[in-house]
């Protein structure tokens, strides 16, 4: 029974492949963190000369403060000089890690769950569910990390803006609510299936 697949072999192979893609995506988050520190506010810009990566650190700020920064050449230069400091870039990478690490964990846990579902063994489903439970936990942390990330980012960049060093608390419930609800729904579904499997195992002992 140990080497039997829980899924048909072709489907199991597909699950393992998709799981590997998720794991790869999780690994990609590491360069994303480094990239956030090296080129803050980078985004792809496509024009007549093709697509280029353009770094615009002011895009990391809220609209109100961004307008203040871009209003005068002096403010723009001061902000660019502040963001160019190596310690600031290191800090920006660390702040990016606040959201990227839970997201990478979420991707890795989903990937491992899919890999486990596609692997042989009688306990494949039970073990996959455990990984999915961890994934929903990571999703909850990721959802809650989003306002912390934005607050840290704006407060950290504030010394380079005309407002000077300030604590900018940014909590946008609309951005938190949906991922949080989805993460909790995922956790509830996983928990329900796990409990049902446990009860089924108990009933299997009855003749």
């Amino acid at each position: 029974m140990q080497d039997r697949y829980w899924l048909p072999p072709s489907q199991a192979r597909r699950f393992r492949l998709i799981g590997a893609l998720f794991l790869f995506a999780a690994l990609v988050m590491l360069p994303v963190i480094v990239f956030a520190g090296l080129t803050p506010g980078a985004y792809p810009y496509c024009g007549g000369e093709g697509c280029l990566w353009e770094a615009k650190p002011a895009s990391l700020l809220s609209q109100e403060i961004r307008l203040q920064v871009e209003a005068t050449a002096q403010a723009r230069t001061a902000f660019a000089a502040y963001v160019a400091r190596p310690d600031v870039r290191l800090g920006l990478a660390a702040i990016e890690a606040v959201v990227s690490v839970p997201y990478a964990l979420l991707l890795a846990c989903v990937g491992l769950a899919l890999r486990r579902l596609g692997a042989p063994g009688g306990r494949a489903l039970v073990e996959a569910l455990q990984w999915l439970k961890r994934a929903s936990g990571a999703a909850v942390i990721w959802a809650l990390a989003s306002p912390i990330h934005q607050t840290l980012l704006e407060s950290y960049l504030s010394p380079g803006t005309p407002t000077g060093p300030t604590l900018q608390i940014v909590v946008n419930l609309a951005y938190i609510a949906t991922p949080l609800l989805l993460a909790l729904a995922g956790y509830a579904v996983t928990w329900a299936i796990e409990t049902a499997l446990r009860k089924q195992n108990e009933l299997d002992g009855f003749v």
């Binding site: 108990e202 002992g205 009855f206 003749v207």
Partner: protein, 79 residues
């Protein structure tokens, strides 16, 4: 849990083989073997009724109980 399964005794008394009983009541021989050895978590009323019907006996002829005070302490109550 001191529940004693006396199915093998009843089978011997009625001169019925395990395979025959398993086929008659519609369970696998391995499950019947587990039941005989008491290595099951429980027995369904429908299984018990089928065994009693085939062997023409009472449930008490198949399962017994030996007193143990620990049973009261170990009991968590129904979920």
């Amino acid at each position: 849990m001191p529940i004693i399964v006396n199915l093998d005794v009843m089978l011997a008394r009625r001169k019925v083989r395990s395979k025959e009983l398993a086929e008659a009541i519609g369970i696998t021989e391995s499950n019947l073997s587990l039941l005989k050895s008491g290595k099951v978590k429980g027995i369904r009323f429908s299984t018990l009724a089928a065994i009693c019907c085939y062997l023409e006996c009472e449930p008490g002829d198949i399962i017994g109980y030996s007193q143990s005070p620990d049973d009261l302490h170990d009991f968590d109550g129904p979920e």
